[in-house]
């Protein structure tokens, strides 16, 4: 059977169209990506530093409540602790004192989870990054890897735990919102699907560009996080890390991990080949002992 030129081109065109059509179809099926995770927005312009979220967090996670003399003060930086998952700090800025909230950022592709060799740290499909005690062996590689320095370790315990915000995963599963969001009296915290939260954040900036810097912290930081921040001043003024990668941190190890199977296949072949090439005729290598 012969095929003329016109027929051939037509066939080609159909094949091409079907190929690109298939592609378009594939694109239209929604993939479970970072956009579908839950997220929380902290609007620093609204936060009053009342610590209600800290108390709610402590109650929800059975942790000790902050002491009476432990309140946000711009003179000292309060730190996350193994038994304190969320911390409010007062920061003196060019627009006066503002309050920042620090806790796990729940990255879309967390460094800690990719670092964990037992899957104790895990990104759930709902968004929270959770820690499972029964799996953890306490190697602290998650602490080495976390770009935000969030996981804290109970160094003073013989059966130590890693302490960090779990975005109230148990509450989420029961359809409730995280304890800090529920108890914020100033409406500084907003909870929802990440795409909705991002839209809301950008809307606030558009509606009132004078009150905000045009930057949603967490939209691109570390490849995108489930915790987003809006600020009246640039984030470096607040002490936020601004030297972070905009791609996910696990990407940094991908090249190495991809090379592993290649080395595993190629090295033995290469080594055995080299050995054959350099082999002596009298085969003394197998024969004698290691001594001459």
């Amino acid at each position: 059977m012969s095929i003329d030129r016109r027929e051939f081109l037509k066939t080609l065109g159909v094949a091409g169209a079907s190929l690109s059509g298939a592609k378009a179809l594939a694109k239209s099926t929604p993939e479970p990506d970072a956009q579908e995770f839950y997220a929380i927005l902290h609007d620093i312009t609204l936060c009053e530093g009342c610590q209600e979220c800290e108390f709610a967090c402590a109650a929800a996670n059975n942790l000790p409540a902050p002491a009476d003399d432990d309140f946000p003060d711009s003179a000292k930086k309060r730190l996350l602790k193994p038994d304190q998952y969320s911390v409010i700090n007062a920061v003196e800025t060019s627009v006066g004192e503002v309050y920042t909230k620090q806790q796990c950022m729940h990255c879309a592709q967390p460094a800690c989870a990719s670092a964990c060799l037992t899957e104790a740290m895990k990104k759930t499909k709902e968004g929270p990054v959770t820690w499972t005690e029964g799996k953890c062996m306490g190697c602290r590689y998650c602490m080495i890897s976390c770009p935000f320095d969030i996981p804290k370790f109970e160094f003073d315990d013989n059966n130590p735990k890693i302490g960090k915000c779990q975005m109230c995963f148990e509450r989420l599963k029961q359809g409730e919102v995280p304890a800090c969001v529920e108890n914020c009296p100033a409406d500084a915290l907003t909870f929802g699907k990440r795409s909705d939260i991002l839209r809301e954040a950008h809307k606030r900036i558009l509606d009132d560009p004078d009150s905000y810097v045009d930057h949603v912290y967490g939209e691109y930081e570390a490849g995108g996080t489930s915790w987003l921040n809006l600020s009246p001043v640039p984030f470096d003024e607040l002490g936020f890390k601004t030297n972070l990668e905009t791609k996910p941190y696990p990407d940094l190890t991908k090249g190495f991990l991809y090379s592993v199977p290649s080395v595993f296949i190629l090295w033995p072949a290469l080594l055995l080949g080299l050995r054959e090439a350099t082999r002596k005729e009298d085969k003394e290598l197998e024969g004698g002992a290691d001594h001459e």
Binding site: L79, S114, A115, C139, K152, P160, L257, R275
Partner: protein, 412 residues
């Protein structure tokens, strides 16, 4: 001939356990300076370890929330593994490239590598918060396969097995079983190929552990080339250890060596020095390319930059030149000095990446407690004990033949 002697002297006419029990008894003087220091030290370390498991890590260690890996991981694991790299380099040279002249070094180097890995695995367990859960990544109820540490841990375990197989013919000779020796010997080449592959991956993997700590390690030490740099430096770290250790063995166990061994040893050492110098040149060159590529030259003028230059010039460039010079004028002393400086340089580099330049901006700094030091040094001491025990009994430095001959001499 040799089999006859073996059969007469060692063939287990006695039961294996009786033979083993008799071998357990210490030989040689008990009250040496080394023993007087090491025994109390190890006992003290045992107490510290008990305290660590009752009251938690902070009772004995100064590691902090921002610098979570201290001396035990930075020195015993990350540095120690580089020092044990000699085994894979030498097996490559002898079994793969057929460089027969280095064969006398194989057994002692593999033994040293095997002990080092075993003890560093022990150091790692001390440092784990929940060491009983170490079973999780092994039995497979939770495989974190995306983790570099998972890869390193598995390679670590498998390489210990590979080294044991490489060393096993020596054990068979010691037990006087010629058949076992012959069978185990057949496994050697497989273990060597497997071992070199594993070493390539976990030596570089130890560096890759720090790839995600971008921004937390000082830019002069952080590099996307860390895996390659760790791999190259493990070559000259391992060989420098072989050179350094060899010079000590020549002295301590001189009674086990014949009069030609000094001369032969010098020839081997000169060859290894050349390999060291070339590997160090590649390393130094890659570091410079990396610095230019990442635009980190500007940091050289800071205090951390000065510290970096101490490492790179004082303990890479200078020992590299000393190796070359030592080979040229043929002075073993210069070569020994170069190997010691290289080892110091490796300690500096590994400690810098994992502890010192890690969160270099953090105040207060992590400084190990005296208790961490005692445990670190004690682990080395116990390793030396076992090493000494093996060298005295097994045909590592000399043949079984020579061993039985000298034993008969003593009896007569």
């Amino acid at each position: 001939m040799s089999e006859q002697i073996l059969a007469e002297n060692l063939a287990p006419k006695k039961s294996f356990w009786k033979f083993f029990a008799s071998e357990l008894k210490p030989r040689g003087k008990l009250f040496t300076i080394f023993n007087m220091i090491s025994v109390p030290m190890v006992l003290l370390a045992a107490v510290i370890i008990v305290i660590r498991f009752i009251y938690g890590l902070s009772a004995v260690s100064n590691v902090t929330q921002s610098v979570p890996w201290g001396l035990w991981k930075g020195f015993n694991v990350v540095t120690g593994v580089a020092f044990a790299g000699g085994a894979y380099v030498l097996t490559f040279m002898v079994y793969i490239l057929g460089m027969e002249k280095y064969k006398p070094l194989i057994r002692v180097t593999v033994l040293n590598g095997f002990l080092a890995y075993t003890f560093y695995a022990f150091a790692l367990i001390l440092d784990l918060g929940k060491p009983w859960n170490i079973i999780n990544p092994i039995i497979g109820n939770s495989f974190g396969t995306s983790s570099i540490l998972f890869l390193v841990a598995w390679h670590f375990m498998l390489y210990i097995v590979a080294q044991l197989i490489e060393f096993s013919p020596t054990i068979a000779e010691w037990l006087g079983s010629e058949r076992a020796r012959r069978n185990l010997k057949r496994l050697t080449i497989g273990a060597v190929v497997f071992g070199i592959t594993l070493s390539t991956l976990h030596q570089s993997g130890l560096g890759a552990l720090f790839l995600m700590a971008k921004g937390k390690i000082h830019p002069l030490w952080y590099s996307e080339f860390i895996p390659t740099l760790f791999f190259i430096s493990s070559i000259f770290a391992g060989l420098s250890m072989v050179i350094f250790q060899g010079s000590i063995l020549q002295k301590v166990f001189s009674y086990q060596l014949d009069q030609h061994s000094d001369e032969r040893h010098d020839i081997m050492i000169r060859g290894l020095s050349r390999v060291c110098a070339i590997a160090m040149f590649a390393y130094f060159f890659l570091k410079i390319i990396d610095m230019v590529h990442n635009h980190t030259l500007g940091y050289l003028m800071s205090p951390m930059g000065a510290w970096y230059m101490v490492e790179m010039i004082g303990f890479v460039l200078i020992p590299m030149l000393l190796f070359v010079y030592g080979v040229r004028i043929g002075t073993p002393f210069i070569i020994k000095l170069a190997s010691i400086m290289t080892l110091v340089g490796i300690v500096l580099n590994r400690m810098n990446v994992s502890v010192i330049a890690y969160r270099w901006d953090e105040i207060p700094r992590y400084i190990p407690t005296w208790m961490e030091w005692v445990v670190t040094v004690s682990i080395l001491f116990v390793q030396v004990w076992i090493f000494r025990w093996v060298i005295h009994r097994m045909p590592v430095l000399r043949t079984m033949e020579a061993m039985t001959l000298s034993a008969n001499k003593v009896i007569k």
